[in-house]
Symmetry: C2
Subunit: 564 residues, 2 copies
């Protein structure tokens, strides 16, 4: 008789452990217990049912218990909740949620892959029938049917993380009026505040009623009330403020819980009990860059953890490279991807960093679908080690972030990045790819070849009457420019250089920083010591200021926004 491998949870992590264990051992008895009615569904695809991209919710279920049994000889018991771990006896107590019966199953190895639960704040109205969370196929089906059957037109989504954004987007695509409420001052925490503004603009451009820096206070039958007192109509409310690792079973069994609230595991995803593994959203993981403990609710790492746990059961050594947190999300016409650290997380980890924000075209400019690619690259000072990146644009942004993720995993530096030889054709990119270009700029900064200020500081510069020089051509300047900026086009720059004061700091910009970089080098090589480039330039500035100006009725610091 083979090993008895019992698995709590039958989705990403659980199903992967089961499949890997079967490949390693024909004789093992493998049983997955899943509380819900489905195993092996695509969590990440749930929101796409709301717009009809995934038309039939049954398609979200990737494999039935019958197929698991027939193809893998794996037993998948749905509607079966593991309610207790009896570590001394090495059994689990399972409750059949249909019959209500409880029974025990013995294990040689137990794997916990219970996932994480949506957080539901206990505010008035949270238990109303029109309040939903999105964790599984049943949830999304219920929400979708409720909307359809009740002729819902107004939905509020609470929380601007991955799930909140994707739910809001898909509901909007289905033609509903959507209010999205986020308690922080920005959506999508993996992005820095400056980059998040681009996503804010995209959402309001697509008709989402976006509210940041405000929280939900009360849910009424037909509207919601926020902490600020503002009210918005809502015939349905989706709560997506975050998830909490499902650790109750582990806690009850006396397994060690980590500092972050996730189940503590070792190199091989073994818990504090030598026969119990834990993988997926419920565990605490090691961050490769910060070297701190963290939690991560991503499918890719969960699958690797699952494989590693199964390997360890069979004596196959694992390599644990830690996590870096790579992700991508579509926000209407934009794709937004990120990896590694951002400014917020780098600061929190106490890592000395600097960054580059460049906006080259994602393809050769003369190609019809060339679009600006917003790219922010963080690197460590003084080593130049790549720490992370954020990319937003209409095109292939995940490609660039995957390259950066690869560099981070390989401990790459700016010097490595600038030399990368990537695929090029005008249909796919530019000969000097944005990642090469960002590395070159980063090297210049690291080597002190030039100084830069971020777009986030321009308002202050304007307020202080700083000398701002716009090196774009005249017609570009006239179409919209920073208030008080002086226009000295690059094409007249050398003959008019003497107009630029040498004794005070001057701040240069163009549309995307490329021309202003050339102007800056010309200035410096002519003896100017106080010139500084505005990283992100006019395009980045307009995107950075737009949303805030609009919602907060702020005074514009540009004569006209220009987003091209």
């Amino acid at each position: 008789m083979g090993k008895r491998i019992m698995i709590v949870g039958g989705v990403a992590g659980g199903a992967s452990v089961a499949a890997r264990a079967r490949r390693l051992d024909e004789s093992a008895e493998i049983i997955m217990f899943e509380k819900g009615p489905h195993v092996s569904f695509s969590n990440c695809a749930l929101p796409f049912h709301l717009s009809g991209i995934v038309e039939n919710s049954e398609k979200l279920v990737l494999m039935s218990p019958e197929v698991f049994k027939a193809q893998y000889n794996i037993e998948a018991r749905t509607n079966s909740e593991v309610v207790k771990i009896n570590r001394v006896k090495k059994t689990i107590t399972v409750k059949d949620l249909i019959s209500g019966n409880e029974y025990e199953e013995a294990y040689d190895k137990l794997v916990l892959s219970p996932g994480a639960n949506p957080i539901m704040p206990k505010i008035p109205g949270h238990d109303s029938p029109h309040v939903f969370t999105v964790r599984n196929v049943v949830d999304i089906d219920k929400l979708n049917k409720y909307i359809k059957n009740n002729g819902v037109r107004e939905v509020s989504v609470i929380g601007g993380g991955f799930i909140g954004i994707e739910v809001a987007e898909n509901l909007r695509m289905a033609g509903l009026n959507v209010t999205l409420v986020e308690a922080m001052n920005q959506v999508m925490a993996p992005f820095d505040y400056d980059m998040a503004q681009i996503l804010h603009k995209e959402m309001i451009d697509h008709g989402v009623n976006l509210i940041v820096s405000d929280g939900i206070e009360k849910i009424y039958d037909d509207h919601i009330e926020l902490q600020s007192g503002r009210q918005f109509p809502a015939q349905a409310v989706v709560m997506a403020i975050g998830v909490r690792p499902e650790t109750s079973l582990a806690v009850d069994a006396g397994l060690e819980i980590g500092e972050t609230g996730g189940i503590k595991v070792d190199h091989n995803y073994l818990t504090s009990d030598g026969d119990i593994y834990a993988v997926g959203d419920a565990i605490e993981v090691h961050h490769r860059i910060t070297r701190q403990k963290t939690r991560l609710t991503l499918a890719g790492p969960a699958q690797r953890q699952a494989r590693a746990a199964a390997n360890h059961m069979y004596g196959i050594p694992n390599r644990n490279t830690g996590v870096i947190g790579s992700s991508v999300v579509r926000v209407f016409d934009l794709n937004a991807a990120s990896t590694g650290l951002n400014e917020k997380t780098a600061k929190k980890a106490g890592i000395d960093y600097d960054f580059v924000y460049v906006i080259p075209g994602d393809k050769v400019g003369l190609m019809p679908d060339s679009n600006p690619l917003h790219f922010k690259l963080l690197f460590e000072v003084p080593t130049g080690r790549i720490l992370g990146a954020q990319a937003i644009g209409k095109g292939n942004v995940d490609k660039r972030i995957d390259v950066i993720a690869t560099m981070i995993m390989m401990d790459g530096t700016l010097e490595d990045l600038q030399e990368l030889e990537l695929c090029y054709s005008p249909l796919f990119g530019t000969a000097k790819d944005v990642v090469n270009y960002a590395a070159l700029v980063g090297m210049n900064i690291l080597n002190g070849r030039f100084k830069q200020v971020p777009v986030t500081k321009v308002r202050e510069l304007v307020a202080n009457n700083a000398v701002i020089i716009d090196v774009r051509e005249k017609r570009e300047y006239e179409a919209g420019h920073i208030i008080n900026a002086v226009n000295i086009p690059l094409s007249q720059f050398r003959e008019r250089m003497n107009e630029i004061p040498a004794d005070v700091p001057v701040y240069l910009h163009c549309r995307s920083s490329q021309r202003s970089y050339n102007a800056l080098m010309a200035l410096q090589n002519s003896g100017y010591k106080n010139a500084c480039n505005i990283s992100g330039s006019f395009l980045g500035l307009c995107l950075y200021e737009y949303y805030n100006d609009k919602v907060n009725n702020r005074k514009k610091i540009v004569t006209e926004y220009n987003f091209r």
Copy 2:
């Protein structure tokens, strides 16, 4: 007075040297000499004028001499051929192609960036007015106008490399009848023979009359004749059989030429003359993996070489990482990208390698635009170092190849690749990306966990009456299968395992290898020693056999092709 930097050639490499030198030195006198009427045009975008993707040929010119002068203080002299280098005097002799006058210019540093010339075989008819090459804007304009003005319907393209393929594709998109002739047995040398078959099928599916293993013999006014004697109508002929580095100036000046016929350069792209640099298509470069000299006509490396040459003039140290050859091309509805070595080049370099050919979906299967991604990964034996990859599919194949290119540049191994944490969302990929998956399979092969045969060997297996087991479900088998293959669906595999002979080799396959891998592990873990996986499986086999069967009237080894 600053340095006098004279540059021969004003396109990719030349223009990049000029711009970089200007950023490093305000006082330098920088002059680019270009034989043709344009500097700084997009070579790589030329073919897209033929289909109208780039409607106006003037758009192909990125920057005029006037803009170079105004924005960068760089002089660009067009229609100016440098006819001689006078190394002792440190001057060049320039011929003004408009006036015919010759004059000399002194240099402190000279940069050669003359590019490469299309090879024109001296066959009968090669000098007819309806025979074209594609090197610059004038060429493409001439070809396009000739086609339009003469009502050309039938075009022959000679050569199946990047230019030939792109010209053929764009002409076909413009509605013309196109014959593409390639002397080798496959188009697109960066791909192995097996992968190239997928491109062959795509071209014939889109109505290109594709001829391989045949060469051009004679060009008549209205048709061509091949070496085989076959004739095809051709009112216009595009010669794209390859390019030859433009080294005449260097040879005349006594500069050293390398073993590959390109100009010999050192670490900093300095020629055998300490004041003369050479960059771009005319030089010989160091291959990072084979450590051999090679030539490469790609824009990305040319730009890096240009920057390095300018840096060296100003004492800035360079890092020379060699080249690996990353490229991407669109072939109708398919994208095809590759990097590093393929089987042919690995063999030639005497590198011991093995490879993985997998065909997972490029996105989560339930997403509407999920498509098979054909991915071939080469690794070194026994180190597992990544040597190269080829990817073909409808989606984002360049992303995967860029990740592999990054791994190669960082000296990554299969072990590194399997652990990469890449972005995932169902719209963009799968939780276990194809590169992770390929690495896992590669590790299994490297560790001897299972054996595989490539799709290229299946015809031989069939001929020898080998035991082939198709583990797909019955309805898949019935829709098309390998002749003589036995159908034991994975869902019945364990109960019917006893039907499989244990004493002779058996070859397993499914659609894409995923199910057959599970079946194979079940067999091995049940004591079978002679089981082998067919890598590429049924889908890969159908694509591999299709074109060859069709054009060579070969006996099919499948009952029906299936390409889904």
